[in-house]
Amino acid sequence: MNHILTLIKKDLLLEVRQQYTFYGILLYVASTIFVLYLAMGQPEEKVWNGLFWMIQLFICVNAVAKSFLQESQGRMLYFYTVAGARDFMLSKLLFNAGLMVLMSIVSLLLFQLLMGNPLQNPFRFIGFVCLGGCSLSLVFTFLAAIAARARQGAALMAILGFPLIIPQVLLLMRMSNTAFADVIQAGLWQIIFLLIGLDVLVIALAIILFPFLWKD
């Protein structure tokens, strides 16, 4: 547990010291949504929802990609021996989940500002956005580890990840449709638990498989 906290603190410190990456992603979020606004104006709810989650997907790939790519092979080996693979992976998962939740909320604000506000139930949507940010970041964190191992960048991550992320995205779209009108979606809790179940599965797989990935 201590290891994990220290590693997260290290990632945070890196973020604070080399602010260009953080602001880089922030700028990416802002400019993507601005371009979208120029192209689409203020679309109707269904399009709004679809666009929002697609943008989250691309933000996630870019935000998470650097988590393994920025570390040199030697430094990785150092963390691996000092903290162990499992703690290392868990710290990355947690850190990226936090980062992605933050980015999702920023992009939600920008969406509200530029693309109009079709939300009837904003608090519920914020909950979904946090859950969605976590779910997306978990899958892509592990894929970033794979891509880093193959010495490839974000492009390979997208190829590997997009087919795998489809169930999460579909569940998220389903869920968030309920935030646009006062309709009662049958089995909303079931969908939420399914998504949480998938997240747990991804975390378990990541923890089990990561040590094999980094063994040399």
């Binding site: 592990f142 191992r149 193959a150 590997l160 997009f162 795998l164 569940l171 498989l209 094999f212 990935l213």
Partner: protein, 228 residues
């Protein structure tokens, strides 16, 4: 001494399903009275077993990937790749036979049916698997990274094909209303059809295993030649 009885069995079963599948009378109720299937229902004997064999082969591929991680023997890696490759080919065949059939029966080759989406995702996953493999020149690392992706993808893919059909309505049998299910619509199969269908499934699985083993022999010989 090579075991070849199962190859003969595969041929016999496939000849049987091809003849019986095209000749047996179809159940009147499901094929004519309550649907627009008519004779196209016979596609069931050929299209569905392909998906069964694809699932069987990618499961074998998963098995060898796990074995490779436990014991990094390059042969296991080649096994995992070749089974995944044949599985993907069968998946493509399943998708094509399904699309041709859907063109006539559902009116469009592609209608965003959850099972069609699942099929397309499976193909994307395994194509990505091959792209990932080819992006790494180092054999040892390639084997390990590819095995990790294979296991990760499989365990996400299987829940996905269990969840997707329940989320949206499906045109596939058993997908009426919101009570879609990932498997077959059990009640639409009558006893005669079962007698043709299940041998067909076994026949296709055996045939695809045969194809994989042929490819494996070639690959292993190539490997031997390179290392010698």
């Amino acid at each position: 001494m090579r075991q070849y009885w199962w190859k003969i069995l595969s041929i016999v079963l496939l000849i049987y399903t091809f003849i019986a599948g095209l000749l047996i009378p179809l159940p009147y109720e499901t094929a004519y009275a309550s649907s627009n299937l008519y004779e196209s229902m016979r596609n069931f004997f050929f299209h569905v077993p392909m998906w069964f064999s694809q699932l069987a082969l990618i499961t074998v591929s998963l098995f060898y990937s796990i074995k490779y991680l436990r014991n990094p023997n390059p042969t296991y890696d080649i096994y995992a790749t070749e089974f995944a490759r044949t599985g993907t080919v069968l998946g493509v065949l399943g998708l094509i036979t399904g699309a041709i059939w859907a063109q006539y029966t559902w009116g469009a080759a592609w209608s965003n049916d959850p099972k069609q989406i699942g099929a397309a995702i499976a193909l994307l996953i395994y194509v990505a698997y091959f792209v990932l493999r080819n992006s790494m020149p180092d054999m040892d690392k390639r084997g390990r990274v590819a095995a990790v992706y294979n296991i990760f993808a499989y365990f996400i893919y299987i829940p996905m094909i269990l969840i997707l059909p329940r989320l949206t309505e499906s045109l596939h049998p058993g997908g009426k209303g919101s009570e879609g299910n990932p498997g077959l619509g059990g009640s639409s199969l009558d006893a005669t059809m079962r007698l043709v269908f299940w041998p067909g499934v076994l026949g296709w699985i055996l045939l695809s295993t045969w194809i994989s083993t042929l490819r494996l022999r070639v690959r292993l010989l190539e490997e031997k030649k390179h290392s010698a």
